[in-house]
């Protein structure tokens, strides 16, 4: 057999049929479902009289609409409550496994799936959510789909697909102190642009990727979609297996041994051909901060807001001018001179235990600056419990952060965690689009450490100058 990439191998293993027109039917092993993108899919199945083919291969949980404070009192917003109730009714009617809102395991789908061992190496994972790319950290082919495709998977456990291109990202060098997976992702997106990976599956390679924890790999793969790629991949290794071992839905005993033996073959062959190669040099990597309304508009913390006059063409100049106007920024302003009023630490990008440890290392013994509102929202109830066992909640609370219940929260503000117009936020989330965190809100994407540093300084500041306390 000719040399294949990791993507090729997973594709080949999931090929159900190739049709006369050349399109392929791909089998879907795992389907994550949440309340926002599923109601119309369930409705469509019922209207067509179609049963769910494999309800046991679904894991469902409400995350987008859920309150992150006083959850025990129910959901105050009526439309949010109705949507969560619709999910509960649908999963009950169709026999779909569901994690209830007040269960300790509840959380953001992309945190819960890996935590439960639902996400496994070599699987195909889909969800009506673009950040499904997160699960690529396990060497799973994982991508976001629309609601019609959610319905398609529920009915057939397959999706018609066209093969993506193979893009290899080679990170060269080791991560410098003060930087992490979020900075790697933002640097990459800044380099290739927000559409740089369109039509591709990106495989992340290099010693810095190997050195990342599973949490870091999930952060990196999560942001693949912000670089235009529906899916990102990291080949599974001992770090992966150590994370998966013993999780509730992971295989056990002899099945585990057989699984690991197979998973070890899930690497790109050394001679495999990639359609594109991108090299990202990490040796001069500094903590990253976005300044605009697209994740590609990013710079070093030591950098400045760009001058539209330096744009490559008229279209880019106009786009930068519009972004600076929306963001309320002047060209040439040093990033460290930009004041913030809000901080959000959480999301499927950076809401895991390691992210909270990183932020707590900065928050410990310091105080949130006057006039800054800072939220910490764990990615799941299990992350919250772990953090509390380690005393991280005390560190945050004593520093003046709010300690919340798990959910998507201010990443997109579908619940009440929204920003007012003009409020500037250092956010560990994934999108800085216009209006993303609330109409007129101004989002700057950063790592958890940089968000915590901004919270205590009241403006963006170079986390490399702060002592990390543990």
């Amino acid at each position: 057999m000719s040399p294949r990439t990791l993507y090729d191998k997973i594709w080949d293993e999931h090929l159900v049929a190739t049709r006369a027109d050349g399109t392929s039917l791909l089998y879907i092993d795992r389907h994550l479902v949440h309340e926002v993108t599923s109601p119309q899919a369930f409705e469509g199945l019922v209207l067509a009289g179609r049963p769910l083919r494999r309800p046991g291969q679904i894991l469902s949980v409400a995350d987008h609409n859920v309150p992150t404070a006083d959850r025990e009192k129910g959901i105050a917003d009526e439309t949010c409550r109705l949507q969560v109730e619709a999910l509960e009714a649908n999963v009950k009617a169709h026999g779909v496994p569901y994690i209830p809102l007040l269960d300790d395991r509840q959380g953001i789908v992309h945190v819960v799936g890996p935590e439960q061992g639902f996400t496994l190496p070599g699987t195909t994972v889909v969800c009506g959510d673009s950040h499904t790319s997160t699960h690529g950290a396990f060497g799973a082919l994982a991508f976001g789909i629309g609601t019609s495709e959610v319905e398609h998977v529920m009915a057939t456990q397959t999706l018609p697909q066209r093969r993506s291109k193979n893009l290899r990202v080679r990170f060269e060098g080791a991560l410098p102190p003060g930087t992490g997976a979020k900075d790697m992702a933002l640097r990459l997106i800044g380099q290739i642009g927000t559409a740089g990976g369109t039509g591709c599956v990106m495989e992340y390679t290099g010693p810095a990727v190997r050195a990342l924890s599973m949490e870091g790999r999930m952060t990196l793969c999560n942001m693949s979609i912000e670089g235009g790629a529906r899916a990102g991949l990291v080949a599974p290794d001992d770090t992966t297996f150590a994370y998966v071992a013993g999780r509730p839905l992971a295989p056990k005993g002899a099945l585990w041994d057989a699984a690991v033996a197979h998973w070890r073959t899930l690497v790109s062959d050394s001679e495999a051909a990639f359609d594109q190669d991108v090299v990202v040099d990490l040796r001069d990597l500094a903590p990253q901060v976005t300044w605009g309304t697209s994740p590609q508009w990013v710079t070093d913390i030591t950098g400045r807001v760009p001058d539209p006059a330096q744009a490559r063409n008229a279209d880019e100049r106009e786009a930068i001018l519009r972004a600076l106007d929306y963001m309320g920024l002047e060209p040439g302003t040093p990033m460290e001179a930009i004041d913030i009023q809000a901080v959000f630490i959480g999301s499927c990008t950076n809401g895991r235990i390691e992210d909270l440890r990183e932020a707590a290392g900065i928050a410990r013994g310091r105080k949130v600056a006057q006039g800054v509102r800072a939220l910490v929202v764990p990615g799941s109830g299990l992350v919250k419990r772990q953090a509390e066992a380690e005393g991280l909640d005390r560190i945050f609370l004593e520093a003046g952060f709010e300690w919340r219940q798990p959910g998507c929260s201010m990443c997109l503000g579908m619940n009440e965690d929204r920003l007012e117009a003009g409020v500037r936020c250092a956010s560990t989330s994934n999108r800085n689009f216009e209006g993303r965190q609330g109409r007129g809100s101004r989002t700057h994407l950063v790592s958890p450490a940089m968000a915590a540093a901004a919270a205590v300084a009241g403006h963006f500041t170079d986390v490399r100058r702060l002592e990390i306390r543990s």
Binding site: D21, G128, I145, G146, A155, T158, L255, D315, R439
Partner: protein, 200 residues
Amino acid sequence: MMPFTTLTGIAAPLLRANVDTDLIIPKQFLTTLVRSGLGRHLFHELRYSPEGRELPDFLLNREPYRKATILLSGPNFGCGSSREHAPWALLDFGIRCVVAPSFADIFFNNCFANGILPVVLPAESIARLAAEEGLLTVDLPAQTVSGASCGFRFEIDPTRKATLLEGLDEIKRSEANLADIEAYEARRRVEAPWLVLGGR
């Protein structure tokens, strides 16, 4: 799904890059349980003041674009969130065709599931179409977009084209492979037994 063959209509030029799905339909409208009714919220934050008044300068609040059925835009249209509410909102407003130099992958797929034709043309061609006076005609069988003084041919995957022309139910197409799906599942239970979860 509504078939798409030809369309003659008003084309609204929203010529900016990276129009994301948050911009097309913001979060506060995603709590809906149905597919319909999102048209009045299309581009909500560009279209209405915080108090809910129409912003007269915005393209879709001006004549003749209130009745646009074609949208012309910049590269990477539909990036970001996978929300199918974006094509639902476009469709409910009356947009059946989006012409852009490139599209984000998930949005592109979602269009076909809803009878919307995403047309890829070079930015220069789109600029010329935007400068046309009068209506544009999109002809899917002929694969052309044209106005009074210019016309351009576009490429489209033949399967995608057939799906739109006939308004095919994609699920029904996959159900035709039921025997293949069953054979695959039986084989996988032997080859990769660790993947078996509970359920039917």
